[in-house]
Each structure stands twice: as C-alpha cells, then as structure tokens.
C-alpha cells in the first residue's frame, strides 16, 4: 500500500504502513520525524478536537471564564539517578515547565508511579523526597496520584507520570501560531546538558565529566519575563529532540522561516567535547531546564535583561530571528560564515563509527 492510498479518516487501517514498521522502534519515541509520524498519522487524526489541534505543550481549557492549562508527561529515564537530579525532580519540573511555557502559573500536579518489583525501598524514598522538595521549590501541590507495581523484568526500575494544571492570567496569549516575522528568539542558557549527562552516565560510556543535567523549574523565570513584556508570542521548552526539533516545529506550524546563529548558542566546553567524541550534534540533544522565547523585537532587550537576572537565565542569549524567507525551514549561519539547513532529526542520533 502506498502512502497516498491511505485514508486516515477511517481509523480502521493502521495508517503507518506495516511494511515499513511492523513494530514500534525506540526512535518512535525520540521526538523526531518518527515520533511526528505517530502523532500526525495515528494520534492526532483519531483524537482530533479544537483544543488538541493547537499542538501546544499544554492544552488550554476555557472553564467558567478562566483559562486553565493542562498537561501530562511520563518519565522513563535510565539511569534513574544522574548528576544534577533524578527521575523524581525531573518528573515534577518537566510538567511544570510545560505549563509555564504556555503562559500559565502552575498550581496542582498529580504523580503516578509504575514500579518494578525489587526496586530498593531506599531508592524510592530518595525519589519521593526529591519530588517533595521539587514541588515546594516550584510552588505546586501534589493533589492526587496512583501506584502500580509490575513483575520483575516487566518494567525498568520505575516509571513516573505527572499531570498538572495551571492558571493563565488575562492578557497573556502564548501559542506556537503567534510567532511573527521579525520576532527575536531568546534562549535562557547553555544547551544539551541533560542529554549528555544521561548518555555519559549510561553503561558502556566511561568518560568522567563534570557535566550536570540542567533539570530546573522555569516558572519563576517565565513569570518575570511575562511581567516584563506582553509581547512574548511563543515559548517552548526544547526537551527531547533538542532546540533543533523545537525550532523546526515552530517554523513548520507558523509557516515562517527561522534564522539562527551558531556562534550565539551557548554550549559548555565539556558538552561540546562529549559531542565531538560521540559524533552528536548538540542542537538535537535534550534539555530539561531550557526555554526558547519568541519576542517582539522592540521588547527583546528588556526581556533578555530580565532573564539574565534570574538564576535560571544568567547565560541568556538572543540566538536568532523569525524571517519571511525560507518558510517552514530553520537555517543556521555556521561559525565559518556559511548557511545551512537545520533539519528535523529522523530517528535517534546514533554515535558514529569513527
């Protein structure tokens, strides 16, 4: 069956041709084009509604004249403890950040555990304490939850799902569709630290680094940005798939071009070194405490100044701008002065042979 013959509206036939993928691959969860294939061909058409179709990090619900942001995320990180954090605070901050980049003040979250039989009780205790302190730090309450235990070998130590809701104040309107030509793109610090930390803590990759995950709650930073300007058009947290994937998603949903500058993007030396060794491109590597903000060019400087005053925005930079040229495409001026396209990643980045 060719792709053109598929009628996705029926929902009866698998719209991803079985000849291509008989089984789900890890890359289907990698945040790149295979993930988007699942979303665009399986999930979105079947679950379609006006709220979902905005494709925001959070759903925006209008209830009794209040705008409520609602989001959910599951955490399956391996290893569960890593330099800079663990699966517990990651699960809290990830959901909070998804609410905050929608312009909401995060209020309440749920926490559900899927625990593999045999997990040391002490590990669970550490994780619970981290969840507690992360929620206090971020100013949210954990108001509901669930616990399931699966047979040994049927899980991987512990998986955590968190959902959250937050309130959007009047006058704030942040959405991927709002980006406009001329908007400047702000980034709150150095990239790729979470992904490199996780990769270097995994078995088989024995190099010592001082790199720590950037896991952090961004709600205070975002609140200060929103206090500074009403002209922040889009915000996203570039997690899985890195800043390249997020920028591509925005370019494609707004059908505008994005121009970025390689020498403006902050990257720690050690992260760059690890990327060189492994043959990975830091633009595609996950972050857990970063945000990209698309701001009207007249307000960009004052937003940048405000960001740099916050503990999670000290190394903020203007890394690029939105253009009418090259619609749907991200173009980067390289360090040697040439231009190249920054594409959506297709699967997982695989370390090269030599």
């Amino acid at each position: 069956m060719s792709k053109n013959e598929i009628n996705i509206s029926t929902g009866l036939n698998c719209p991803i041709p079985k000849s291509d993928y008989e089984n789900v691959l890890l890359a289907h969860g990698g945040g790149g084009t295979l993930t988007h294939q699942l979303l665009d061909k399986m999930f979105f058409p079947n679950f379609s509604n006006d709220i979902l179709n905005v494709h925001h990090d959070s759903a925006i619900l209008n209830i009794n004249n209040s705008r409520i942001a609602f989001t959910t995320d599951s955490y399956v990180v391996n290893p569960i403890f890593f330099p800079g954090g663990n699966i517990g605070d990651l699960a809290v901050y990830g959901t909070i950040n998804d609410l905050a980049v929608a312009g909401a003040k995060p209020l309440y979250i749920s926490v559900s555990f899927i625990i593999e039989e045999g997990l040391p009780m002490d590990d669970l205790w550490q994780i619970v304490l981290s969840i507690k302190s992360a929620s206090i730090r971020a100013g949210v309450q954990i108001v509901t939850g669930d616990t399931k235990v699966v047979d040994k070998g049927k899980g991987d130590k512990i998986f955590i799902n968190t959902s959250g809701i937050g309130l959007i104040s009047e006058g704030i309107n942040i959405s991927p569709q709002n980006c406009k030509p001329g908007d400047l793109i702000l980034l709150n610090g150095s990239i790729a630290e979470h992904g490199i930390t996780i990769m270097s803590s995994r078995e088989g990759l024995e190099f010592d680094t001082e790199i720590k995950s950037d896991t952090a709650p961004l709600n205070s930073l975002i609140a200060e940005m929103l206090d500074t300007s009403k002209n922040i058009h889009v915000m996203r947290d570039p997690t899985r798939g890195g800043i390249a994937s997020t920028l591509n998603e925005i370019a494609s949903s707004s059908n505008l071009g994005i121009q970025i500058y390689e020498d403006k993007i902050p990257i720690e030396e050690e992260v760059l070194g690890a990327c060189e060794i492994l043959g990975l491109d830091p633009l595609y590597i996950a972050n857990e405490g970063k945000l990209l903000a698309f701001v009207d060019k007249n307000d960009a400087q004052k937003v940048l100044d405000a960001m740099r005053k916050n503990e999670f925005g000290k190394r903020s930079q203007i890394i690029g701008e939105v253009t009418e040229n090259n619609p749907g495409t991200v173009v980067m001026k390289t360090s040697i002065g040439s231009n190249r396209i920054v594409d959506m990643i297709s699967g997982e980045q695989l370390p090269r042979i030599c």
Binding site: L26, G204, I336, I353
Partner: protein, 369 residues
C-alpha cells in the same frame, strides 16, 4: 575548545576561501575520500565558500555504506539467535539489510547492544559466559586497531565466547579502482586524515606517481578542508602532482607504528566486496589463522542468505562519485533517513544522509539572508 575553534574560525575560513578563488582559473573535480569530510562539507555548506569552478565529489569512505549487504544479512541472522548478544557501533544498527535492520531485530526481542568500543564487547562476553557475544567489526583502517586489540585481549584472557563479524576495508585499493574506471573524472584527492593517522601516507606515494594526481592528507574541520582544497588546487593549477600533508598536527608519514604492528599480527589482506561497487582485489582485512577461532563467519554457519537490493538505489554510483545523491530519483521521496533504501542514507557520514539533513539541494532551496 583548543584544536577545534581555530579550525572553525570564520576569519581564517574567509581568507582561505579568497585564496582559493584567487588561484582557480579553470574547472577542477576534487574527491574527498572520507565520509567524515563529506559530513563537514555539507554541515558547514563549504561549497558556498568555493568558486563555481570547483566540484567536490563525495567518495566511498563511509564504512557503514560499503559494508556488503550479505554481511548485514548475516549479522541480522546471527543477532536473531537466542544464544547471541550482538554488539555494534550505533550507526550500523539502522543500515537496511534485504528485509530488516538490526534495530528491528532488537524491537522483535533480539539481544542487540550498542557499544562504544569493541573492548566493551569483550567485557560483555566475560560477564555472559553462557552467551556468544559477537561484535560487528566494520570500518576502514581507522577502526581496525581497536577491533584487532579486542581479539588479542579476548585471546589473552581466554574469552572464547567472543567473536567478530569482520568486514574491514582499505582506502588505497579503492582509490586505484576509482582512477582506473573509464568513468573517472577525479583530478585530485583529499585523503582521509584519520586513516592516515593509523597507516601514515607512504602507501599513497605510488598512486600519486602512477596516476599523476595530487593527494593531500586532510583533516575534518572546515578550515582543514578548505586548506586541503587550496593545496590540491594549487598543485593542479601548477600542473604538479605530489603527496602533501595538511593534517600534520595529527598525521605522521609513517603513521602509528604500534597500531600497524598490531594490525599485522591479527589481520591479513583479502579480496573484499564493497556494497554498491563490487569486489575489489586485496581491499580488505580478515583474521589470520591464529585468530580464526574469533571469526563469527566460521563459528555461525549462516547459509541461505539471499540478498535483495532496492532496485531504485544508486548507492554504487554515488559511492564512486559518478552521481550525486540529488540525482537519484528516489532521493528525498522513496528514500529518506526514516526509510533508507541504501546505506548512504543512514550514517551521518553517508553522502545521501548528509545531503538530506544539511540541505544543500534539499527539496526546497533556501535563500541566503
């Protein structure tokens, strides 16, 4: 970062670009042998800095791309066995075999592990004495010393459940084949800096003399490549041909003597099939008899391999520099990194994937500022 920033510097790149434009008076076709260089050329869009007269032809130096299909099918057959842990570098896992790739074997429950060094595979073998641990030993002269070391280590430590599925290939016989081809249009080479780090560049001197062609051993950063191109063009314009070493901060004429000694101990040259190109005489390495107990092809009696290449894929012509990826009718539509028909669409160092990702001739052209 020292030794990197200065080779990615816009001022230096600009100067070299101007120098190349100044000395170029007519068209020249230059091949970069190594996939790592192709990657840099596309990633930094280096052609934007070159005069129109210079055409860069992408060479066959992508180890993933030239590994023969039947060996990938064998790897898939071995990896599917219950008694095997199959280990490999990351970018081999997505290379399409006739029906499957290794990642699909993993998704179906096969024990396929990505490792960063063959020595880690030996360790896995020690930790799993009830399993047979196989490492997919592909690559050019660059990766061979580490693979040889893994065999020597396993031999020394008596790890008899370890083996390698070996498909090492060598650069000089490939250069000779390309230059002997009636379709050849290559007038100068950038030789692969990392291959020469191991092997040195003495073995290229006979090629320079026989074919009267400039060869410049070149590094992998954008400034390295511009410098290499400058040196090749300078020779061509003066009607000279000699071997030069642009990558002297790493490469010595004699190479790495200890590594070469190890290679001599473990491997011997053999005829080798290159995917898309065919058999090239004495263009590969196989394990010597002393180490044949570590040869996965001898341990696992894999038969009935019936290979089936995609009829659309023109990887062979691309690997020989006869066509560019965008000239393939499947490029970007039937063949994408998600659905590769041929290996050059898989590895970051494959010419097709580099064209696809870095968009020199992507489906849409981009406007410069």
């Amino acid at each position: 970062m020292k030794y990197l920033n200065e080779y990615r510097d816009s001022e230096t790149a600009k100067k070299l670009s101007e120098e190349i434009k100044k000395i170029t008076t007519r068209p020249w076709n230059i091949m970069e042998i190594c996939g790592g260089q192709t990657y840099t050329i596309l990633k930094y869009n280096i052609t934007e800095l070159l005069p129109n007269e210079i055409t860069l032809i992408h060479g066959p130096g992508c180890p993933v791309c030239v590994t023969p299909l039947e060996l990938i099918d064998k790897a898939i057959a071995i990896a599917s066995r219950d008694d095997v842990i199959f280990t490999s570098f990351g970018d081999m896992l997505r290379v399409p075999g006739s029906d499957l790739d290794l990642l699909s074997v993993k998704a179906k429950g096969g024990n396929v592990k990505m490792v960063y060094s063959p020595l880690d595979a030996v360790k896995i073998a020690e930790q799993n004495p009830d399993k047979k641990v196989v490492f997919f030993a592909v690559g050019f002269e660059t990766t061979a010393p580490a693979n040889a070391m893994s065999v020597v280590e396993a031999y020394k430590r008596g790890v008899d459940n370890y083996s390698i599925l070996c498909s090492h290939v060598l650069v000089p016989p490939a250069i000779e084949l390309l230059l002997n081809s009636p379709d050849n249009r290559i007038e100068g080479f950038l030789a692969a800096g990392h291959v020469c780090t191991v092997m040195g560049y003495e073995e290229y001197i006979p090629l320079v003399d026989k074919f009267k062609i400039p060869i410049v051993v070149t590094g992998f950063e954008p400034v390295d490549i511009l410098q290499g191109i400058y040196q090749v063009v300078k020779q061509l314009e003066k009607n000279e041909y000699k071997i030069e070493n642009q990558y002297s901060r790493v490469v010595k004429k004699e190479g790495n003597i200890a590594a070469k000694e190890l290679l001599r101990k473990v491997f011997e040259t053999t005829n080798r099939k290159w995917r898309g190109i065919g058999e090239i005489p004495m263009s590969g390495w196989k394990l010597k008899d002393k180490y044949s107990g570590f040869d996965a092809e001898k341990i696992f009696d894999v038969r009935d391999i019936k290979t089936k290449e995609s009829s659309f894929c023109i990887a062979g012509k691309i690997l020989q520099g006869i066509n560019t990826p965008d000239e393939c009718e499947a490029f970007g539509n039937k063949c994408t990194p998600e659905h590769p028909l041929g290996a050059p669409m898989v590895s970051t160092e494959g010419a097709c994937a580099a064209y696809f990702h870095y968009g020199k001739v992507k489906r849409k052209k981009f406007v410069n500022e």
